[in-house]
């Protein structure tokens, strides 16, 4: 009968058991911390397709790493070889032992150190097949390890500009991880050298090594090393970025069952937090990092600090909240939400007095107004936009009134973004009452910032449109017409409008009617942040300027005559440095209005109102 124990397996067993207990404790705690109402939700969703989807997603994301592949194949392969390869090693190992012993239940370490315990070469073809494939898989994984090592020292090879800085836990886990597979190869080869139980790779390598080394003694040492590294890695895992490996799996299930972080920090937030693999993809896209080389505030660091409970104000605040990182996060963590929650926390008791707003009231300039136009603070600094909107509204012949003609009350979003939710509510309440008092059935604003807060925080039971949506409708319903010019126009998606409110098409449809739309790499979801964002509370002016400058020069370098955008803030930020004219879509439309058409249709506008505002 065969030997089934040797002291060198102990490190592995210790590490493994530690890992299991650690995870068990943490996960169950977080699971309990889930927001009220989540648990029944999970129960109901458990036996449904959602679970199957989750499994599929786990396979695709956690093993194959589809997302990363999309972003950059090299990186994708690296992750896949490590994750999927390792997974297969375990799977095949298990099968091999099963077939070999005929028993399914074996000591947990048995498959892993199989070649140590079973020295006689396989006889059956089937077993040899496993032996071969195990060797190939090992090669597969090792290729990943190599890439990882290269990445660490020459990150650009894998297409990443920067890679994350590491903590102690990380470094320990990382170095053990790197050693695991080379050691496995070494141990198996050396063992093969004197027992001949190797296969296509291990055997020749073993024979070669054995030709000049005392294989037997070294093999035993190497097996020790292998076990120690395995155990060490598992022990370090809960304290390292590799925590993301198990956590992500759970997160995917939770997400598929419809559990997300909302306004408050909850158990699921913990899962999200620990699901961050610190892959560093968010660093490259971060405007603050790109232009100003600030390497402390990006999401990966934010989450790390949060995890290690040493998060600083300045970090929480130094973010444009442009949402680009969220867009590319392979783990799809709701990053901006996470940061917003921390901002809310950082702000203590309210410190505002808006009593002066009480005096203001809505006085309708006409009995019934259908459309209410709200320019917003920023649009008051870009009269071009304001005037164009008036011109368009006049042309459309709709009964409208201009809510903040005399100057606006802030929509409250800037306050909210700075974590002063309660105070923001005072402002939104005030605006809300004014808006409702107008009796309009549609609210149109020129400012994406206002637009977003109207949509999210105002609970208005009337139609809310950004002026791009509104103008688009006017054009579709032939309420206004424009003469098309052959100017080339590149469109810059404002964060709050694009990623923020998923409005990508209307602006482009309008532009196609005005002139020729020029495509460019960083558009739609990948649009850059103009640097003007009010969300960043600690960026210095010069840093801000750097961001604005690079965005401007990027856009100016596109093959276009005009840079178009749909946000007063973007217009100002880009306009400050751009070498090409920067126009708001409203301005483009207003200047291209087809007067003759106007006159004909002026009569029909009553019908139009029935059409869109049923």
């Amino acid at each position: 009968m065969i030997r089934h124990f040797d002291p060198f397996v102990l490190p592995f067993i210790v590490g493994f058991t530690f890992l299991l207990t650690a995870l068990a404790v943490l996960y169950s705690r977080w699971f309990i911390q889930l927001e009220a109402g989540s648990h029944p939700k999970i129960l109901s969703a458990f036996f449904s397709l959602k679970t199957l989807n989750a499994i599929k997603e786990v396979f695709l994301e956690c093993l194959i790493h589809r997302k990363i592949f999309k972003i950059n194949p090299m990186l994708g392969y690296m992750h896949m070889s490590l994750a999927f390869g390792w997974f297969l090693l375990i799977l095949f190992g298990k099968l091999e032992t099963f077939i070999y012993t005929g028993r399914f239940a074996n000591a947990i370490y048995y498959p892993i150190f199989f070649r140590f315990f079973e020295l006689n070469p396989h006889q059956s073809a089937l077993l040899n097949f496993f032996n071969i494939s195990m060797d190939l898989l090992l090669l597969f994984v090792l290729s990943g390890v190599c890439l990882a090592i290269i990445k660490r020292f020459k990150s650009r090879v894998t297409g990443l500009k920067q890679t994350t800085k590491h903590t102690a836990g990380d470094r320990w886990a990382l170095s053990t991880l790197w050693l695991i597979f080379p050691l496995r190869l070494l141990s198996e080869s050396l063992t093969a050298a004197f027992s001949g139980n190797g296969s296509i790779i291990t055997q020749p390598l073993g024979d070669f090594l054995g030709s000049f080394l005392p294989a037997q003694q070294l093999a035993y040492i190497s097996w020790w090393g292998y076990s120690v590294c395995l155990g060490g890695f598992m022990a370090a895992l809960p304290f390292s970025r590799y925590m993301h490996i198990p956590t992500e799996i759970f997160l995917i299930f939770l997400r598929n069952w419809g559990i997300f972080t909302n306004k408050k920090y909850s158990g699921v937030s913990n899962f999200e937090l620990h699901a961050c693999s610190r892959c560093g993809i968010c660093i490259d896209v971060c405007p603050v990092n790109n232009e100003s080389g600030r390497r402390t505030t990006q999401m990966v660091y934010f989450l790390r600090d949060l995890r290690e409970k040493k998060l600083k104000h300045s970090i929480t605040e130094n973010c444009m909240m442009c949402g680009r990182c969220e867009q590319v996060c392979p783990v799809a963590i709701p990053l901006t939400t996470q940061r917003q929650i921390q901002r809310d926390k950082s702000m203590q008791k309210p410190f505002s007095d808006f009593s002066y707003l009480e005096r203001i009231s809505y006085n309708a300039n006409e009995p019934k107004t259908e459309v209410l136009y709200f320019a917003g603070c920023m649009s008051h600094l870009t009269p071009g936009i304001r005037q164009s909107m008036i011109k368009i509204l006049e042309a459309s012949g709709i009964k409208y009134s201009f809510l903040d003609e005399k100057g606006p009350i802030c929509c409250g979003r800037p306050l909210k973004l700075s974590g002063k939710t309660e105070e923001a509510q005072i402002l939104s309440e005030k605006n809300r009452t004014l808006i409702m008092a107008s009796g309009a059935h549609t609210l149109v604003t020129s400012c994406p910032i206002c637009y977003k807060s109207f949509k999210e925080d105002y609970h208005l039971n009337i139609k809310i449109l950004h002026h791009t949506e509104f103008i688009d409708q006017l054009l579709v319903k032939k309420q206004i017409a424009i003469q098309r010019s052959d100017e080339k126009i590149a469109y810059h998606d404002p964060c709050e409008l694009g990623r923020g409110s998923a409005i990508y098409n209307q602006p482009r449809q309008i532009i196609r009617r005005v002139g020729q739309l020029v495509k460019h790499p960083d558009e739609r979801e990948n649009a850059r942040c103009c640097g003007g964002s009010l969300a960043n509370l600690s960026v210095t002016t010069s840093e801000r300027n750097e961001i604005q400058q690079s965005v401007s020069s990027y856009l100016s370098s596109q093959p276009c005559d005009i840079i178009a955008t749909a946000c007063p803030m973007c217009k100002k930020s880009i306009g400050r440095f751009a070498e090409k004219p920067v126009k708001d879509i409203a301005e483009l439309v207003a200047s291209g209005l087809d007067e003759s058409f106007m006159n004909e249709k002026a009569i029909k506008n009553q019908k139009y109102n029935e059409l869109i505002f049923e």
Binding site: H313, Q348, K349, F351, S352, D353, F354, Y356, L357, R359, I360, C377, M378, H380, L381, K406, G407, P408, I409, C410, G412, P414, L415, S418, K420, L427, G532, L534, L537, S538, V539, T540, T541, S542, N545, M569, K572
Partner: protein, 92 residues
Amino acid sequence: MDNNDFSLSVALAAIEPSFAWCIGCGSCTATCSAAQFTEFNPRKINLLIQRGEVAAIKQELKKCMLCGKCQLICPRDVNTRKIIQNLKRIMQ
């Protein structure tokens, strides 16, 4: 002036020194959303910090809506919004 309290300006200078670059042109006040409804005067706040007349500032601060217009028009690139933001935190 000799017995004014400059602790605030010192504290603020560490976080955001740009308040000292103000040339008192008043464009911030001119554009301020809050200033159209009240006596609120960002230019003056900025000045009072420099003069160490802290007491006067506190109530005034509360009127700011943080809308950020002032920042956009400041000819001296004074980081007005950040200043107010931090004042609020310091004085809270």
